[in-house]
Structure formats: structure tokens, C-alpha cells
Symmetry: C2
Subunit: 344 residues, 2 copies
DNA sequence: ACGGAAATTGTGAGCGTTAACATTCGAGGT
DNA sequence: ACCTCGAATGTTAACGCTCACAATTTCCGT
């Protein structure tokens, strides 16, 4: 009560109302709204004034109906609670907004083919002009690949699918870099705490690690597998702390590295003096772990932005030559969790 | 090439096409689509078959135009890269989806009045039926309060605004709880690392802390102020580590607590033996800090969900009696970063 | 002052749905 | 067999906008 609109509950003004007030045709109103040429300045001003006076807002549904463009893009993401997806989503949204698009989000709990298909269908039924799928899991990527959709879809992930335009991170490269750095410091080999087996990120990082060890002729220890969470890293760490000859561990992400550090700390294994640890992602907190974590930085925001640019290319570019695959290379960030091995 | 649709680039089928194929009027198609009564079962089946055969999809813009409902809700959030906003967003999206709504997101960089107003306007111009504003800053809340908007808006934050329906967390309560717990353990007083001054969360947590100290007759030390980041917590920690008589610190969030722990560790002050530390939020990683962090848990996902329910109430409930303010109480989670003080 | 092109404005027809009302069909009662 | 009434279906008119084209003006050069 009080502020509530009091009886003046007229219907929203429409273009015709503006036209009448400005003394022009509705088409002229449409013209000034869309910045069409051939409108005399004073006419334009009159229309603009009428618009302001009535506080007129164009009806987007009507516009979408006739133009067949919704100004909306869809994003299907997986657990956008995680830092990576959340940041990508953020990057996508920023880029979309500055390109004049709205973003409609669907965050999946499970990333099997059916869910992805369903989500994309739902989005397309709503009328989105294109979709970005944040598809980190193997199943999702193949689902996207065989997506029978009439709207353009791009994926952001790490695979090598060529069916679908995609932006990906050089996970193998980054993991190799990290591993090599540890070997160069004199470590005989490097242990690995991997992510879930069905994530492409996991697979690629593990492969980068493995190949680097093999190339260096280093033994390849058994992999510990986590689920990205600090909790799983902790449990992996408990197991690793049991092994007597570990001097270096590469974790597939920073959160697991956090758990690992905790487990090593509890096990009385000092980092980096006894054991060096490297993570992946460079989340903002990584620099404040105990000790500060050496990790492989990837810029999720940039990733999202690039994905959106790719989608816009598909969308607006009638010309085909827009690149179908963008790759972003991560970068090793050195901090105190890594040290040269001391030969005993 | 290959999978691409080959020449069969007919226009999308519309309701009339389905009607013709099924041998009924378009209105009957509309009826089965909307589950209207008085459709003979075999007619319905025929229509359904036609729909399937043509792979017909209703045009949402046309529907929105005539029904004046877009099935879409808007969310304006602040830096959805942070754990809190991201989780709320996630909760909102889940709840919205299961209620049959789409979610259109706008993530702001700055939360001044103008930005919020702009974001809400943009969303409403797009035709959203309601908006959730994740408005943690003072400026945002007042902006929301004086939002001249024709769409229902609910806020999720921590203020006591009554203008706008809102769901909030008992920040004062949680902070008080944490502080009292420390006092009960024998600490003479509790230091505080606060969040940014213009955030309501900061204000409320600080106030909860201060009042509890005052009520206990404990001295109120000067506040250290951070910006929620681990980095700022670290710097606050460096300063605190200088103070000789600190035995307990309450951080306004877990990330700053992480930085604080690092600084104390570097300064050779052991936690919890010399100094007890409590955080706020209970992010998933908090249990894996060194040492595991005692903190005040708030369920962001639930928060988002409740906000959405509130919005739906505003939206669909023609009855006014839907509550205008939902409050969620956080809960103290005890972990090893806290210990009784040892009298010297 | 006149023809014609360019600039400016208006008119009418959809876009694909749903809402409102009209029509037809079929069964039961007398 | 006739009338009534509800069930089932069809018809027509919006919804608010843009597009295509028509109509009107204006501005030049000659």
C-alpha cells in the first residue's frame, strides 16, 4: 500500500499509442526505434519525446515473432557451482551482453547424452538463436556431436571432436609442462592425482602427464583418482603419504591439491621439502594455500568469451571461414609448493 | 558435409501444418498442446502423431505475444564467479526449471544503483515475468527498493528492507554465534577480519561480532578490513600476526580465513594452539584447510531456491498473504581451527 | 517553372498463437 | 421423431511488431 500503482492500471502503451501521440504512423515509430535511415530529425525528436512521455517499451515477443530473432543465446553448463563452469558462464554472459544478446542458462546435474539433448531442445524450443555447451565430460561431447538441432551449437571443453565447433584448453600441453618442470628439478618421477575418468579434462591431463614421463624414460606410477573435490584430494593424499618414495605429485586440479596438501601435512610430509606439489587451474586461492601452490593457469573467463565469439561467428558469419576450433594454451605458474629434489 | 541437412530446408512446420496433416483445425491442435478438455481421444492421438511426424515445435514468441507470458525469469547477480553468487544462481536455476521457467542471467561488475536499474530494465524489456536480484551491497538494496519496475522483484541479501520481498541470511546471528563460541572457550576477546564496508553481509557480520563482544563485556579490537579475497585475508593476517596478544580471529568469510591461515603460518603463529580462527560460509574446501576451518555454514543453494519460491509466490499468488521476508539461519560448524585458550 | 530522383512517410499484410464465440454432432427425454 | 443440452470442433479476431511496397514530399538541375 502506498507506493502501489493506484488505479492508473492502463495497459502498457504500444507502438500505435506512440504513433498517435507523435502524429505519425506506427511504421515511423518503428523506424526511429530501429535507427532506420530517412527519418527527418524533427520527426525523430517528436517520436522520441512521445516514447519518453508514455514510457513506451517495445514488446520483444512481437518483435521476435516477426524477425525470428530472439536476441537470446542458451548456455548449458554442468554444476555451475564449480569455479570453472561459473567463471566460463560469467565470461560468456559478459561477452553476450556486450554483443547485445541475453543469456538463458541451464545447469545440469548429470551430463549424459539425454540430459544434454533435453537441455538443448528446451532451449531451442524457447527460441534461443544458438547454444554454448560447457561439456567437460566425454559423454557430453559425443552427445553434442550427434545433437540433432536446428540451432548452432558450440562446445567448450577439451576434446578433439571436429563435428562441433569448439574452444578448448591445451590440457595435455599444460599437464606436460607441469610434469616436465618437476622432472627438470630432479624428481625421479611424478605421481598423479587424476580427475574422474569420464571427464575429458582428466583424460587429457593424465595423458599429458603420462607421455611426458614416458618420453623422459621415467617410471609411470599408478594413478590416484579423485572427483575434483578437496575431499577426494585429501583421501588420495592419505594414500600417497603412505608411499615412501614419492617426491612429486601433480594434481589434476587445485581443489584436489588443497586436500592433498592437507593430507601430506597431517602425514608429516613437508611440502615442498619432501614432496613437491603442482595443481591445475590457478584458482584465485591457490596462491594462498600452505604452501602457495605451483599450478597451471587457465583463464576460464577468456574461455567463455572465446566460446561466445565462436558462436557469434557461426550465427552471423554467413561466410563459412570462421575457425571451427579455438585452442587456448594454459601457463605454468611457479610458487613455493615445488622445490628441487635433494639427493640423499 | 555429410550430416548436414541436405536441401530439405523447408520452413519450420507451424500449427496449421499439423492441423492439415491431422485433418483438424489449428485450434484443435492448440487444444491438445495445452491439454484443454473436450478433445476426443482418437482426435488427440491423430494430432499427436502429426506433431511427431512433422517434428513440430510451438513457436514460443507467438505464444508469448498472445498470452503475455514469457515463461522466463531474470536474475541479476554480482560477480557470479564467487562461490556464493554462483551457488545461489545454481539454486535459482534449478528451482525455476522445475517450476517450468527459463532463467535469463545478467552478471554485474558493479552494483551501484544505475547498474542494477539498467539490468532490471533490460531484463523486463526482454519480457521476463519477474526478477531475482542478488544484491549483497547496500547500494544495490536501496536501488532495488526504489526500482520503478512493472515486474515483480525479489532480493536475496541480508538487509532489513521491507519495500522489497526478500530472503536473507541471519548474518548477525551467525557471527554472534561464532564469536560467542570463541569467548566460551576462554578467549579474552576476538579479532575480526571484516568484508568490504559497503556490503550488507560485512556490516551485519561485523555487527553480530561487535554486539556479542560488548554483551560479554569483552574489549572490541580494531577491525581489519578485506575484500573477501584470500589475498586480502592474507594481508590482514600479516598485520594480525604482528599483534602479540591475539588469540582468536573471526573472518567474515572462508576465503579470507584461508589467507589469514597462510599469514599466521608464515608468521609462526600456530592455529589453533596459539590462535583460533573461524570463518563464514562453509565453502566445500573449508574442511580441508590447514587446519580444518571452523566456520558458519550457509546454504547458498537453498537461499536461491527460497528466493525463487518467493518470486513465484509474488507472481502466481494473487492472494497477498505470501510472506514478504524469508530468513534463513546459518549454523556453526566446528572443526580444528578452534581450541580453548590455555591460561598462561 | 517542370520532370524526376531521392527522401520521407503511410498502408496493408502477415508472423504463429491463443481467446472468444459460433457451429455441429450425438445422446437422452418426452 | 423432435427438442435440448453438453461435448467436440471450427472460425475469426486479436496480440504488437516488421516488411514490402505505395504514396507523398522535397530538392535539384535546367
Amino acid at each position: 500500500m502506498g507506493i502501489e500503482s493506484a488505479g492508473t492500471e492502463q495497459r502498457q502503451p504500444v507502438m500505435a499509442d506512440v504513433a498517435k501521440l507523435a502524429g505519425v504512423s506506427h511504421q515511423t515509430v518503428s523506424r526511429v526505434l530501429n535507427g532506420a535511415p530517412h527519418v527527418r530529425p524533427d520527426t525523430r525528436d517528436r517520436v522520441l519525446a512521445a516514447i519518453r512521455e508514455l514510457d513506451y517499451r517495445p514488446n520483444s515477443a512481437a518483435r521476435a515473432l516477426v524477425t525470428r530473432r530472439s536476441q537470446t543465446l542458451g548456455v548449458v553448463s554442468f554444476d555451475s557451482t564449480l569455479y570453472g563452469p561459473a567463471s566460463m558462464l560469467d565470461g560468456i554472459e559478459q561477452a553476450a551482453r556486450s554483443a547485445g544478446y541475453f543469456v538463458s542458462v541451464t545447469s545440469l546435474r548429470s551430463l549424459d547424452g539425454r540430459s544434454v539433448q533435453e537441455a538443448v531442445d528446451r532451449l531451442r524450443d524457447q527460441g534461443v538463436e544458438g547454444v554454448v555447451v560447457i561439456a567437460p565430460q566425454t559423454s557430453a561431447v559425443s552427445a553434442v556431436a550427434r545433437l540433432s538441432s536446428s540451432v548452432p551449437v558450440v562446445a567448450v571443453g577439451s576434446g578433439n571432436q571436429t563435428q562441433v565447433p569448439m574452444v578448448s584448453v591445451g590440457n595435455r600441453f599444460g599437464a606436460g609442462d607441469a610434469t616436465r618442470h618437476l622432472l627438470d628439478l630432479g624428481h625421479r618421477t611424478v605421481h598423479h592425482v587424476a580427475g574422474p575418468a569420464n571427464w575429458l579434462e582428466s583424460k587429457d591431463r593424465e595423458e599429458g602427464w603420462r607421455r611426458t614421463l614416458e618420453a623422459a624414460g621415467a617410471p609411470v606410477p599408478e594413478v590416484e583418482r579423485g572427483d575434483w573435490s578437496a575431499r577426494s584430494g585429501y583421501h588420495a593424499g592419505l594414500r600417497i603419504a603412505e608411499l615412501p618414495d614419492v617426491t612429486a605429485v601433480f594434481c589434476a586440479n587445485d581443489h584436489m591439491a588443497l586436500g592433498l596438501l592437507r593430507a601430506l601435512n597431517e602425514g608429516g610430509r613437508s611440502v615442498p621439502e619432501e614432496i613437491s606439489v603442482v595443481g591445475f587451474d590457478d584458482i584465485p586461492e591457490a596462491a594462498y594455500f600452505i604452501p602457495p601452490l605451483t599450478t597451471v593457469r587457465q583463464d576460464f573467463g577468456e574461455l567463455g568469451k572465446r566460446a561466445l565469439e565462436l558462436l557469434l561467428g557461426e550465427l552471423e558469419g554467413d561466410a563459412r571461414p570462421s575457425p571451427r576450433h579455438v585452442r587456448i594454451q594454459p601457463e605454468l605458474v611457479l610458487r613455493r609448493s615445488v622445490a628441487p629434489v635433494v639427493r640423499r
